[in-house]
Amino acid sequence: MSAVLRARGLGKRYRRRWALADCTLDIPAGRVVGLVGPNGAGKSTLLGLAAGLLTPTTGTIQVCGERPGADPAQLAKVGFVAQDTPTYARLTVAEHLTLGSRLIPGWDMRLATERVRRLGLPPDQRAGSLSGGQRAQLALTLALAKRPRLLILDEPVAALDPLARNEFLRELSDAVAGREISVVLSSHLVSDVERVCDHLIVLVGSRVQVAGDVRELLAAHHLIGAPHLDPAALPPGVHAVSADRTDRRTTLLVRADVPVDGHGWAVTPVGLEDLVLAYMSRSTPVLEEQR
């Protein structure tokens, strides 16, 4: 598996606060990767470092095999849609496309104008008077028309209403379908990720809690329930991720390399939302112990 993004001991400090500390991860090429985690997990920082907007305090990061933002050629390989999808408020939609064509070698003007037309963005309208959804679409168009090898989206739909959110994610799926492009999309909403991503990375406190193909992850995780279940006494190959206890019943979310049927437990399949929640909450006690 070749990595389109490779971080080793990556850290970023703002004054005294570490926004990302000692992060090591690989993001596979050719996939649509969802990066989820709670607020403050370091998602935006990681993606900012990947786009070359930030410089690491410690460690290294390589995107498409090179240091991010090193030169114009490297910039052209990475499409980046920043949080809140910034655009120049006083420039029109058409002027944004002109801007791209003047700065980016290999800019695909046909793709850009075609998308703008299809989305119904008025070319003469200033970006400042577009709706949030339209602005996000414009930002996505700018990133796509670079014909990047890696497309990075940092919470692109966080500020959008459900309708615009739906529209944006559908557009994104259509745009990347059948193309030689890797995508990393960060979100704190699992439902967004579930719609468009085929690979998942859960990042909590700069650490990768779990990473893998969405279908494989779902196949390997189960909810098992029984009146009395000791997470420490599970058979080999079965690991508890989280436990939910009531007086009458214990429910464990487990990761299993072996079949889990036939132990007298009630086994139910797990949804992605629950899976992510289990891994996100799992890290909390670890943090408490450190205090």
Binding site: Y14, L53, L75, A82, P86, G100
Partner: protein, 331 residues
Amino acid sequence: MIWLTWRQLRTQAAVVFGAVAVLAALLLATGPRIAHLYHAHGRAFLDELGRTESGLYLIGTFAVLFAPALIGTFWGAPLVTRELDAGTHRLAWTLTTRTRWLLVKLGVVGLVAIAATGLLSLVVTWWNGPIDAAIARNSGAPGHGVFLLPRLHALVFDTRGVVPIGYAAFAFVLGVTIGVVIRRTLPAMALLLALFTVVQVTMALEARSHLLPPDHVTTTITSANLMLIDISGNLTVRIDEPGAWIVSQHTVDAAGQAVSPPSWVGKCPLETGQASQTCFDRLTALGYRQRVAYHPAGRFWTFQWEETAIYLVAALCLAGFCVRWIRRRVS
């Protein structure tokens, strides 16, 4: 990138060049009359100038005086902070390297600022040519309305010739520098204004006179050249150097030592007459003279070029600092 920078600047540039054009039109319309009067009446022509000319003299002078500070405040300080505020740097830096982004911004806006200020100064300097010449030739004589100060005087020097170009470039880049370091628009604008004012005042009152070694002249003290006796008894005399800039002066005794003048000088009658003559003759006979350090009017352009060069070099150094800072520190 040049396209984007110009696109962002063009409205403001149009306003600035429009204002310069209006002022230039006024000056071009009235300038020929001033030149004509000067040829007809010589240095006495200042008496012929009316309220229109006085008004334009002040407007032109103050326009050039304040242009660099305005450029620094409204073009320099917000150049980067405005993008940081709107987050658009995160779009721009994925389209071009931040070094190129900043260099083009500095270059394009800086050159436009220099062009606007240079044009303004050119037309103001041309319009004031006859007036400045007449003031220089009248040097020391009672002033005529607002037409008082010679070209080497701090207030006038800053508003003539090529120095406004240096000031504009420096104020602009200083504004950008403060912006990239403190990253907040309004504080950056305020700080730029304060800092630039300090630099300008320091240069005019302290530093400039040291750019060239002054000439010295030792003159007798007469009722005709004595201008002022201050509260501690020190004398100020006028020298016979039209338009000269007197840097310092003090009274010396027969041995050439700096001394306080005798207190009875204050009682010498200043009206021309026998009593006054005797009084000042006695001062001269006792060996008292006034030693004056000054810059002759002819050094105007030497000072202009030297100071412009200093400001331009300072602007370039600050620009280099900005580029380093934005590569290392700004995220």
